[in-house]
Structures are given as C-alpha cells and as structure tokens.
C-alpha cells in the first residue's frame, strides 16, 4: 500500500499509465496460461529431451521440437497414448499432471492410458498389425545374437524381446512367469535394422547410410530360427531391470519409436547397437548417465558386454548356461544338436557313409531319402522314435539351406535383370496378358515390400494404420491362367541367364524333394509315437 501511494503521482503520467495498463493486462493473461513450476525458469531442452528426440530421428531439430512439444504440453495437446515419450518427459520435468480425462500418468490416482499399442510385425507371409496390451508383457529382455561366421557378422546383433504372456484364461487367472517365458510363439523381437529395398543387399549403401533404418518388429521364433538354426549362432536373452510401471511405459514408448523413427542405416555408427543405445537413453532417462549408454560408435558385442556390467540387466541369469537354457535366458546354437543327430544316425543306419554333417547335407535329397527309406533303415527308424526324429531334424535343416540357396540364386538373377530398378523396360518385353500378371503378381508385391511404410508423429490411431492382412503373394496368382503367364514372364526374365536359372531350378527341386522326405518322416514319426503310446 505504501508503495502504491508513493507511486500515485507517477500514475497521473499518460505514458506511464499506458505502460502500466499493458503490464497489468499481460499479467492477467499470463495468469490464465498454465505456467511451469515456479522453480523452472528454463524453457530450453535439456539432455533428456535431446535423447528423446534422437530416439525419434537421426537429425532432430531439438530446439524447434522442444518448443512445439512444450506448447502442446502447456495447451494439453500432448497425448499420453500417442506421444508417451514426450508426455513422460514433460510430466517428470514439470511435475504437473494433466487435467483432462484419462490423460494422467500411472500412479497419480487418475486413470492412465490403457490402450493396447500396435506394432507392424513382419511374418513370413505378410505384414500384420499386432496390438499388444502392455499388462500382458511380463518382461523386456535384451537379446544378443552371438558372432557368426561371416566377416560382417562377427560383431553379433542386439535387439529387445517382449516376453508376452498367453491370453488370460476364462477365470482371468494371471499366467505364471514360466508360462509367459515358454509362450515363445507370441514373443516379439524389436530391433533396429536396415530396410533393404532392392533384390540384393548393396554393401556400399549399407556403409553410406542409403538404407532407411527402422525399429522392426518380428516374431521371436523367426529370429531364433535364423540365428540358432540357419547360422548356428547362440542367443542371449537377459531381462532389463524394470518395475511393472516402468515396463508398461517403455512398451508404449517402444511402439512410438517403432512408428515414428526413421533414420539412415549405416554399418558404422548408425547400426543396431548404436541405435538401440540411443533408444535406451530415451527409455531409461534416469539411467542415461551410465557409461554403457554413452559409448559412441559402439558394436553389438560391446554394447552387450557393457550392459551386462551396467546394472541395467539381470545378468546373473546367464551365469550358468545350463540353467539359463532351461529358463529361456540362453538359446545355444543348434549345431551340437544336429551333430548329435548325425552321430546317432551314422551309428545305427546301414550305408550311412558320410564323413560329416556337411557332406550329408550336401548329398542330393533323393539319395538321402533312398538311404533312409531302405528296408533295414526304415525298420530301425520305425522302432526308435528318437532316432527317427534325428533323421527328421537333419532333413529340416537341409530344407532351410535349400531355401536360402534358391533365394540367393533368384535374387542375383533378378538383380541382374534390372527388374527392380527399371521395371518399365522389363514390362516392354512382355505381351498384354503377361504385363497384367507381371504387375499384379510381381511388381505390386515388390512395391509393397520395398515401401518402408509411412512414418507417424507418435503412435498412430487404429484408423491410421493400413489394413494389411493380405499375403504378399495373392492366391489369384496361382489360379486360372496366371501361373502360365507368370511362367512366361520368368522365361523372358531368364533369357541370357540360363545357367543361373538351372541352378535355381535345381535348388527348387531339391527343396521339393526334401519336403517330401520331411513329410514322410514326420508321418512315420507320428505313427511310431502313437504306437509307443498304445502298444
């Protein structure tokens, strides 16, 4: 009051009155706008926000993004279900719970985001959207695929595994940890990888960052098959140390990264390890200072070792590999199992004159089948289901290898034909009917697969996610006259590549012969097991 009284004479000055009016008005306006906590005078992004943006983009304009996000936060337009990363950041920084409806952080007493989150999962046949309820995810594991034979696979691979529990039973009983762990068919693997949009991988593009990098989602068993069976590599799967609420939040944030992040994949510097490291810094902001999350240009094997010793993982689970294999923390290479199968067969079967596993697998499938189906060997395998299964798994291994050989041959031939780069030139060599089938059955699926998909500003709404239930290859391509037309198209394609085509044909023939043997052995094994159960 005293101060106002003393100021009274000044208030009579017109200019001063105008200025004071402005100040008062501004003050009134500012009171209506939600202001940061009094302690915060910093409207600049900090390291945590920077880490967040780097998890969503390779070249973020951090200050601009911060201003936009801050405005959204302040105007309550930041949606916890759409941008969980930003929401969590602003909530924890400014300690202010959202007021609107369901938009509240867990633990505040207000309802949290309960929506399931989507992932676009690449299965062998199609892309499909899977909606994951975070409450059904029992754990998030760090997966490390051990070193492979190839020169470029000597550093391994890292990814995250979602341990998804089976759906609740009718009594809504929560699944046990063991049930969740063994529910491998539903587990998802999330890993940063290159989206290769050509028939053959261009190593130079991989080195220079010309492939898009994304956080891909795929079935865990597909990865297991690829690493442990195709390439004889071991897998470690070590749980992250997370509370239930942390886990729920991280799953949503992983979904946001999955739909939003698009970067430039580079073998050096922007690979699975460095990208995962960046993501973990954003996902575990209170742990971001750990050295394991700060190394630059880190390799997958290095990241794995660093994380094992960082206190971020339940590393004790892999101290004993035998126990770890029982619990699903370690998946050894399947090579010893195949070797054991090979040894068993070599001791029990007649005319089994192969020196080692590789030479056995290199033998023509029909020759192996003739040996397996001989009168005496047939009797031996029928009477010993364990041995019968040994024969089966070796044939299945052969199956995967022949598929790879076939694919590699086809890839090379198609790449050389230029079909992917200049499809119009190739089309010009076809007649009208062939062109129609070429477009529908070859070009269109290739375009779908080559398209990395749109990016979203956060987790998309269901309406924003394209329906993608159709298989890559339409069944219509194998009906009516389509097969004949497709054959004609491939014949045009194969001109000038006859030798390679023969090799492809041979690989496909081997594949077919092997699957015939596989089905036969499987049927015999089923019969033997039934006979053993019902003597």
């Amino acid at each position: 009051m005293v101060k106002i009284f003393l100021l009274a004479p000044l208030l009579r000055a017109p200019l001063l009155r105008a200025r004071l009016r402005q100040v008062l008005l501004c003050g009134m306006l500012l009171c209506c706008i939600q202001q940061p906590a009094a302690a915060d005078t910093n409207d600049m992004p900090d390291t945590a926000y920077t880490a967040l943006q780097w998890a969503l983009s390779d070249r973020p304009d951090v200050p601009a993004a911060f201003r936009a996000d801050l405005t959204r936060w302040q105007t309550q337009h930041l949606d916890i279900c759409r941008q969980p990363l930003q929401y969590r950041y602003f909530y924890s920084r400014f300690a202010r719970a959202a007021e609107a409806g369901n938009h509240a952080m867990p633990g505040t007493g207000a309802p949290a985001c309960t929506e399931p989150v989507p992932f676009m999962v690449q299965t062998p046949k199609k892309l499909e959207t899977r909606w994951i309820d975070p409450s059904r995810v029992r754990a998030i594991h760090l997966v490390y695929a051990g070193k492979g034979k190839g020169s470029a696979s000597r550093f391994g691979h890292v990814a995250l595994q979602l341990i998804i529990c089976p759906a609740p039973d009718a009594a809504e009983t929560e699944a046990s940890d063991a049930a969740c762990a063994s529910n491998l068919r539903e587990h998802l693997l999330l890993g940063f990888m290159a989206h290769v949009d050509t028939f053959e991988i261009d190593v130079l593009k991989g080195l220079s960052g010309d492939y898009r990098a994304r956080l891909f989602a795929s079935p865990f068993l597909d990865a297991y098959r690829g690493y442990a069976i195709d390439e004889f590599r071991e897998l470690y799967s070590v749980p992250l140390k997370l509370s239930n609420s942390q886990r729920g939040i991280i799953i949503r944030e992983l979904s946001q990264i999955h739909w939003q992040y698009s970067g430039e994949y580079s073998f050096f510097g922007n690979n699975c390890a460095s990208l995962l490291q960046r993501a973990l810094r954003a996902l575990l902001p209170t742990k971001a200072g750990r050295p394991a999350l700060h190394d630059k240009r880190i390799r997958p094997d290095q990241l794995f070792q660093a994380l094992l010793h960082s206190g971020l993982l339940e590393s004790e689970h892999i101290n004993n590999k035998t126990e770890a294999e029982k619990q699903g923390y370690f998946f050894p290479s399947t090579r010893p199992y195949y070797a054991k199968a090979f040894t068993g067969l070599s001791r029990a079967l007649e005319n089994f004159t192969f020196p080692d596993l590789e030479s056995y697998l290199a033998t023509a499938p029909v020759q192996r089948a003739a040996m397996l189906m001989s009168e005496k060997n047939n009797a031996v395998l029928e009477h010993d289901p364990h041995l019968g299964e040994a024969a089966l798994i070796l044939e299945e291994l052969s199956l995967t290898r022949e598929a790879r050989r076939f694919s590699a041959g086809l890839a090379q031939m198609l790449s050389q034909s230029g079909m992917d780069k200049h499809p119009e030139r190739f089309r010009a060599r076809l007649d009208t009917a062939q062109q129609e089938v070429f477009d529908r059955c070859l070009l269109q699926p290739a375009k779908v697969l080559a398209d990395p998909g749109p990016r979203h500003n956060g987790i998309p709404l269901p309406a924003d996610i394209p329906v993608s239930d159709a298989p890559f290859l339409s069944a219509s391509c194998m009906e009516g006259d389509s097969p004949r037309q497709l054959k004609a198209v491939l014949t045009v394609l194969a001109k000038g590549n006859e030798k390679r085509w023969q090799a492809i044909d041979q690989a496909a023939d081997n594949w077919r012969n092997t699957i015939t043997t596989v089905m036969q052995l499987e049927a015999r094994l089923s019969a033997a097991k039934s006979a053993a159960k019902n003597p």
């Binding site: 098959r225 992917d420 015939t516």
Partner: protein, 320 residues
C-alpha cells in the same frame, strides 16, 4: 390206237395181279435225282444200285436208301432216307444231297493225324515238364488224366501233381527274392503248410517279416508319390514362402552377413515357376499342413537335443 391204249394200261396195272405171286414179291422204289443231285450213287440197304435216277425193285419192309456223290478226293455229298415199302405198292423218293463233307475215310485219316499230333505234343510237354516248367507240368497232368496224347495213367498224373507244387514253389521263391509281395505271401503259406517245399516255420517267419517290410515300404512309397503330387501343387508356393522367411530375416540383419546377399523383396516370387510349368490350384488345406510342419522346424532341434530347455517346453505346449 385209240382203241388199244386203255387196254394197254389195264394190262400194265393188272399184270402184277395176274402174275403168279411167286413170280414178284416186294415193290418198286423210284429214286429220283435232279439238277446237281444227278449222278449220285444209290445204295439200297448198303448195296450199290448204280447211279441216280433209277427204279430199284425192293422187298417189302424197311428200306434204307443212301445217295452219295463225291466232290473231291476227301469230300462227298450224301443223302439218306428210310422208306417203308409194302408189297406191290411202288414209292418214289427224291434225293437232296447235303453240302460237301469229309468222307469217312478222310475223317479217319484226319483223326489219325490228329492223334499223332497230340502224341507228339504230349511228348514235347513231357520233356519241358521234366525241366520243371509249371505250365508244361500242368499240361502233362491233364494228359495223363484224360489220355490226351499220353495213355491215361492216374498214377503218373499224381506223380506229376507233386512235382507241380515243387515247381510252383521254386517259381514263387524266385519272385519273392525279386521283391514281389504277392510271392512272399504265397511263400509264407507254403513254408507253413509244406506245400511244394519242406515245411519250415523259421523260414515262414523270415518271409513274413520281409513281407511286413515290403508293405511298409510300399505304403511309404505310395505316400511319397501322393505327397509328391500334392507338393507339386503347393510346394512351389512354399518354396517362395520359405524363401521369404529366410530372406527377410537375413536381409534385415544388422550385419550384412557374408552368407547372405539378397533382400527379402525377391522372395514373394512364385518359385514353382522355376520348377514345373503345371498350372495348379492352390490348396489352402495342404498349405496349412505344411505351415504347421515348418513352424515345428524352429523348435524341434533344441527340443530333441535338450528336453530340459525352454524350447522343449514351448514345443510341448504347442503339441498340446
């Protein structure tokens, strides 16, 4: 003249009545032949009476009239009729010769020739049968039973019957050794019953086991053939899908694996086109069966190699 004809007829017809009975007993048989029947030789009760046509006096009673006319050295045409003659009642028959047929002599000659032929064949069969030829033995048995080419002899037939089973058994054994399932079945019975072979339970068991193996192999082969046919329809597509599986995973590896240089993009291609030109319908049900089989592939080696592993538990879960 007019005045003499009636008198002449009366004398002619009355003459037989005016003659003393002891002068003509019987009647007159006119055998008439016309057209190509003319020239046939007439036989009355087997006695040649010359050429047709002729009036032949015959006694009363049953008279057999035959007519024969040679066509060539071995063939003749014949006719025969039995006529009942009454005293003093003339009759007339007209010959209608048959088509050409073998003369009796020619018939006999031919029969003799045939008999000689049969004997020769029988001897040949006998020689062949001695070599254990089953068909020849069967013929020899029949010959001895029926006296066909060989003098009928029940004892010989029986001997050869025993030898037949032995020969059959030898043939069956050869076929069984060659892998014939039917022969093996036959052989099992023979050893069990001592039919054509010495009864031998051990050998019967051996062949029974071998037969069981053949059946399993046959079933396996049939299933293989069926599967091959089915797989031709869908395995081409499966190859594509498998290629997609393998390629996708490899293409999206962080490390450009030295063993993989291809992208998943190519892998949607219908691989069956590389194999066979058959235009085949896509069988969803078969596809699902193979899908299931291929899904198990991921779990099987570890489940087999280490039944204590998590993979083994996951495999058991899926089996349930």
């Amino acid at each position: 003249m007019k005045k003499t004809t009636p008198v002449l007829f009366a004398v002619l017809f009355a003459a037989p009545a005016l003659l003393p009975a002891s002068a003509y007993a019987g009647s007159l048989l006119r055998v008439a032949c016309y057209d190509d029947n003319e020239g046939a030789t007439i036989y009355i009760n087997g006695v040649n009476k010359g050429e047709c046509s002729a009036d032949v006096p015959v006694s009363a009673g049953s008279v057999t009239v035959q007519a024969r006319k040679m066509v060539d050295a071995e063939h003749e045409r014949v006719w025969q009729k039995t006529v009942e003659m009454l005293d003093n009642v003339p009759k007339r028959v007209e010959v209608q010769l048959s088509g050409p047929q073998l003369t009796a002599a020619a018939q006999r000659q031919r029969e003799e020739q045939a008999a000689k032929q049969r004997q020769a064949e029988a001897q040949a069969d006998l020689q062949t049968a001695k070599q254990n030829d089953v068909a020849a033995i069967e013929r020899v048995i029949r010959r001895y039973q029926q006296g066909d080419g060989l003098k009928a002899d029940a004892g010989q037939a029986k001997q050869w019957l025993l030898r037949l089973e032995s020969a059959k058994a030898a043939r069956v054994l050869a076929a069984a050794e060659g892998g014939s399932a039917e022969a093996m079945e036959d052989l099992v019975q023979r050893y069990e019953q001592g039919n054509g072979v010495t009864q031998d339970a051990a050998k019967a068991r051996q062949w029974r086991e071998r037969l069981a193996t053949i059946h399993t192999q046959k079933q396996a082969e049939e299933r293989r053939t069926t599967l091959l046919a089915k797989k031709k329809e869908i395995s081409f597509f499966e190859t594509t899908l498998w290629a997609i599986t393998g390629g996708k995973k490899l293409a999206q590896r962080d490390e450009m694996s030295g063993s993989t240089t291809f992208s998943f993009i190519i892998l949607y291609l219908p691989a069956w086109l590389a194999m066979d030109a058959a235009s085949v319908p896509f069988k969803i049900s078969e596809q699902k069966k193979i899908d299931k089989e291929l899904e198990e592939l991921a779990l099987r080696p570890a489940a087999w190699g280490n039944p204590d592993s998590l993979i083994a538990r996951a495999a058991q879960q899926s089996a349930r």
